[in-house]
Subunit: 704 residues, 2 copies
């Protein structure tokens, strides 16, 4: 019976994609406004397209190389022949998610600005619909990818194993895990490249424009202003989409793999897929609750967005019960219903981490207000304060994830059967991500609103329009903070599930392998040290990349101010394309080293320290990456909002010395929160994925 | 025969203390200079004494409470009755090391300034002799403490077990481990309190003095100037002394504990103690090579200091062979000589980590020079650059420690016998610390030179004297960087040895305990996450502490400038004591929370997650603490030297915009490198020590 239920997965996928399509049509039905707005929007679109074209060409080359490498490995029997294709497919769908999200975002920015000139609510509707396209494209394509692989494997490649269900699911899950690596690689490039692009443009534009030339943000005289707006799209939209696509499918395939050793076989493999399908419907239903009257109060708007998420969560809580009950045959095995608690704990952990992210980064709470006080004694104290705040804010997320893992493990029967407990941990990741459709919609809405504000400024729309887009943007900052916490939390749980799946993969590949995963086993211990260091090394590289690319922008903007007569007076146009081009080239160049670090490290560690060392490295990288990502995201968010808090009138307001100090904090925070921090999420998952794909090679050639 | 050799340990202790005594006499034989110098030195001494008196009173209370707690635990059979006394003894000797070091440092500062007015070499001799007093006091008292405990336990408390050598050594080592906790607790208070004191004074003095009032560093008109100089003594001298005392005895007792399970019994326990005794002689011999002609070239001076360390290392390399050969009875068991490789790898690792610390933080190398370039685009870019540099610099130390652990483990026979491999890891920590006498001497010399510079400035000595003390100080910065790397590296290896000792302790206390130290066991995994987070939380607290205390200093200095007529004109004296008092109170208050975090965490984690969870926590904290400490120390050091590099004339020199940006970097770096970073070293050892002492309690009451 469960077999038939699984047909529900492609149905869910189709529904999500159809819903995304209609949302896109809705967005495109709005007016793009005046000629000037159209023109600006076209420049942004053009820049973003140019960037993605170049990026996908570069990454395409990488994928070709990897395809050959994996093909050779498959030829020598280290991998199933399916793997190279799965790798390409994972990368393709991940890239496609980002691409579509970016397309609609760049189409919606001028429309949001125009709609905002009519009413705040209209503006919200356009921006949120654009966000929904992104959210539902991600989950729609994710489920599509899963369905294609699953059905191909079950009814074509491994149809011959139909008699031995455990063996069949085991082989299927092993093959499916590898398309995660394609998705991860693509996501890493997208996040790192996009993150470097956006922050190089932002930092570069601010350093020369705001600080040296003294012109306001988003001023059309600033040659880097279009690049800055392009950056929001390629970083916060395309990068974010690829990232969460990858968490989404990663958590599902990891849990499918864990279902086998837990002895749940087909039913257990069906649960994560069905949960995702159910989550799709719940998310679609949730979007209908995102509506409000004609009131324009911020709290009301935030409430409207939240309501959508809460409704979706409630629906999932209700629907998850029958899914688990029937899939795991709880009528016969009543103890299995404990898995339901894992779903709940995952969902709750996501909400709580989101809440505490907001608590530590929003100016409506004490931590950020206190941080803004530190600006009174200059830039040094606000920097110390922000880093200290970020570090402190890691305490609660660690406890939340810890409790969630424990609850999931024991509720799912970990005390009696270790493997069932681990399956529960995987399910909690799936539970957290089941609301992804709507969470991502509220999250991706932010950059659209941000762009709309830029367009309003550049097209000299009336001040009230800019006020409205600012209100939308500010709302977007709050949802982005929540979304960031959600991305980090889900990455941690997904990475944990992937580590467990890695162990299972080794068992499958080499049934007699003598594990010694004890933390006092030297290879494990050293792996742990190396893993702990990796997110630091990686962050260093991405930050340096931003720094170098930003320096180039600074030079170019200075050159244009110097060489283009009439630019400062507003009588001549800046050469926007040159800045976009510099950012594009910079991002392409700077993303290579960190991305390769993520791919090469597990192989090198594996060859030198063996399987146990790799497991240690994965555990160390996940723990340290989680803590560092939370720290960087929250420090960055708090600096940003402390600056805004001062701009809204505290401590002397704009232009005062405290404000200047806060700008320093904000600039330091930019690569923290938008480049290094979010890229770490992908790094920790990619490390696991690469380890899984290269498991056969490591087993054969490692020194230990 | 080995039993007789062990008598050599108290002999080594006595020799070290006698040598320290004569060095102290030598220092005191120099002139303190003019009345004004005498007066200033007296103020510093008075401030430092006042601080230590208050600190030791506060800590005394803590020790009384802990004595009662441990007494009650001993009463109920969770501990041997010896433990509470060992705890007090460890704390006492650790505190005494810091106290004596500080006494001589505050006596030597004016003498160094006066000697420098005669010649640079005379200045070096006084400062280095003062450093030697500190270095040899630490190892002398360490060996004394070890000897007292060892002989008391062997010939009094456990004399009855003489028939069963394994059992006897096992009980002895278990009891001895606990005096490490006393030493650790004292060291943590000293490092955190001293670190907060020194940086609050430094940051406070700079913020108002240099930035607001525009007066130079060490200007006597600055009311915080004496507090700043006191800080060098209580932080960099007393704190550092207590810290390394603790690493020193910690590595030795941990290795003694590991000797038992390795099956080496008495001979194995003797090796670390004898290595330390041999190291004492080698260090004394090394000091005689620290001499140079009348040349005043920096490189020659540095060469002189280095020569001492190299000679000592060479002597240890020679002497370690017979020590191991006879103690482990290698004539009969030739394979045991592999332990010798562990000594070498530890020694080498110490040298290499020190070298790379210097590479990343000295302005003679590229990284710091490039960092100073980042000052051209303002404070934000130099902050990003410094953090990025610090993060990048973690790569090599992790690899060095990793290779050292692997070499030690396998060379000592870990492939055939796991426990012997672990013993080798302990020995490598002992090997690294065997040169402590001379390493610490070159390190503790720095703050003395720094103080001498301050006194020269405040007493208006001729410019050439200040130039000489600056040369000494700058040399001190280099040795301090090496010393810091050494402290971090030895802390990591010691902490690893202590984790292994913890596992042994559990086995001793509960022979049938069913370990599951696998990193995929949820309590281990969650412990790992918690442990990874702890150094971040701890750093956040210590940095916030510095911030708050510095704010109070800023307020007080502003008040004095406002209310004391004639202060700015130099016609009235500042109220130095008030600033010292504020720093003292601030440090006392702010050190409580971080110190308690270190003590309470292992107990809470133990009660909730059990022994396996504690082991996970220790591994996570050691790895993350090591990486974070390296990052903070190196970022801070590089900012400091980038600023000095600009002051020496690059990028516009003093007063230029890049210099102002570099000052921001330096100010952020202050708590990084002198408060949070070094305190983490102690935190990771203290966590292990507390876990060991409370092992019995956790075994009895934990949930898991």
């Amino acid at each position: 019976m469960v077999e038939k239920f699984v047909l529900f997965v492609p149905v869910g996928s189709m529904l999500a994609l159809i819903f995304a399509f209609f949302q896109a049509k809705k967005v495109l039905g709005f007016s793009e406004g005046s000629d000037r707005m159209r023109k600006i929007s076209a420049s942004i679109r053009q820049g973003a397209n140019a960037y993605l074209r170049r990026q996908y060409t570069g990454i395409g080359l990488f994928f070709v190389v990897m395809f050959v490498v994996l093909g050779i490995m498959a030829f020598y029997g280290f991998l199933t022949p399916f793997v190279p294709f799965a790798f390409i497919m994972g990368g393709f769908f991940s890239g496609l998610s980002g691409f579509i999200g970016m397309k609609i975002a760049t189409a919606a920015n001028a429309r949001t600005a125009q709609a905002s000139s009519e009413s705040l609510n209209r503006g919200l509707r356009v921006a949120f619909s654009a966000g929904s396209v992104m959210g539902f494209t991600v989950i729609g394509l994710g489920l599509l990818n899963l369905s294609i692989c699953f059905f191909l494997l079950k009814y074509v490649f491994y149809a011959g194993l139909a008699g031995d269900e455990a063996k069949q699911i085991s082989e299927i899950s092993s093959a499916m895990l590898t398309f995660g690596m394609g998705a991860s690689s693509m996501a890493l490039f997208a996040r790192v490249g996009g993150g470097i692009f956006t922050k190089a443009a932002d930092v570069g534009a601010d350093l020369v424009g705001k600080v040296e030339a003294g012109i306001p943000e988003d001023d059309p005289r600033n040659p880097a202003v279009i690049a800055d707006n392009v950056g929001d799209n390629v970083g916060d939209v395309a990068g974010m989409g690829a990232d969460l696509y990858e968490s989404y499918v990663g958590s599902i395939v990891a849990t499918i793999a864990l279902a086998v050793s837990a002895g749940y076989n087909f039913g257990g493999a069906a649960v994560p897929m069905l949960m995702a399908a159910v989550g799709t419907l719940a998310s679609i239903a949730g979007t209908f609750f995102v509506r409000c009257g004609e009131k324009t109060d911020q709290k009301v708007l935030l409430g409207a967005l939240r309501k959508g998420t809460y409704v979706s969560s409630a629906l999932i809580i209700i629907a998850a019960f029958p899914v688990i009950y029937y899939s795991l045959d709880c009528a016969r095995y009543p103890e299995r219903i404990g898995v339901y608690a894992a779903v709940l704990s995952g969902l709750l952990a996501g909400v709580l981490i989101g809440f505490f992210t907001e608590y530590f980064t929003s100016a409506t709470y004490k931590p950020t207000q206190e941080l803004s006080d530190a600006s009174l004694t200059g830039p040094a104290t606000i920097i110390i304060g922000g880093i200290s705040l970020g570090m402190f804010s890691t305490l609660l997320p660690v406890i939340i994830v810890g409790v969630s893992v424990l609850v999931s493990f024991f509720a799912s029967g970990g005390a009696a059967d270790f493997a069932r407990g681990l399956y529960g941990v995987g399910i909690s990741a799936v539970g957290m991500l089941s609301t992804l459709g709507i969470t991502l919609a509220t999250d991706a809405y932010g950059p659209v609103a941000d762009n709309a504000g830029g367009i309003a400024e550049m097209s000299h729309l009336p001040a009230e329009v800019r006020e409205r887009t600012d209100a939308l943007d500010s709302l977007g900052n709050t949802t982005a903070a929540t979304g960031k916490g959600f991305a980090i939390g889900s990455a941690a749980l997904t990475a944990l599930a992937l580590i467990l799946a890695y162990i299972d993969e080794i068992k499958l590949k080499s049934p007699g392998f003598a594990f010694d995963l004890s933390i006092i086993n030297p290879p494990v211990l050293i792996g742990l040290f190396v893993g702990t260091m990796l997110p630091f090394l990686f962050s260093s590289m991405t930050m340096k990349g931003v720094g170098r690319a930003a320096q180039n922008i600074v030079r170019e903007v200075r050159r244009q101010f110097r060489e283009i007569p009439g630019l400062m007076e507003g009588t001549a146009d800046a050469d926007y394309a040159a800045c976009v081009d510099i950012c594009t080239k910079g991002a392409q160049k700077e993303m290579i080293a960190p991305a390769l670090t993520g791919i090469v490290s597990p192989i090198v560690v594996g060859l030198l320290l063996g399987v146990n060392g790799v497991a240690g490295m994965l555990a160390g990288a996940t723990a340290s990456g989680f803590v560092l990502a939370v720290m960087m995201a929250n420090a960055g968010g708090a600096w940003d909002n402390a600056k805004k808090y001062i701009e809204s009138g505290s401590h002397g307001g704009k232009g005062s010395d405290p404000h200047k100090a806060a700008v320093v904090g904000d600039t330091v925070g930019d690569p923290f929160k938008d480049t290094s921090g979010p890229s770490i999420n992908i790094l920790i998952k990619l490390l696991s994925m690469v380890s899984i794909v290269f498991a056969g090679l490591i087993l054969r050639f490692s020194l230990f």
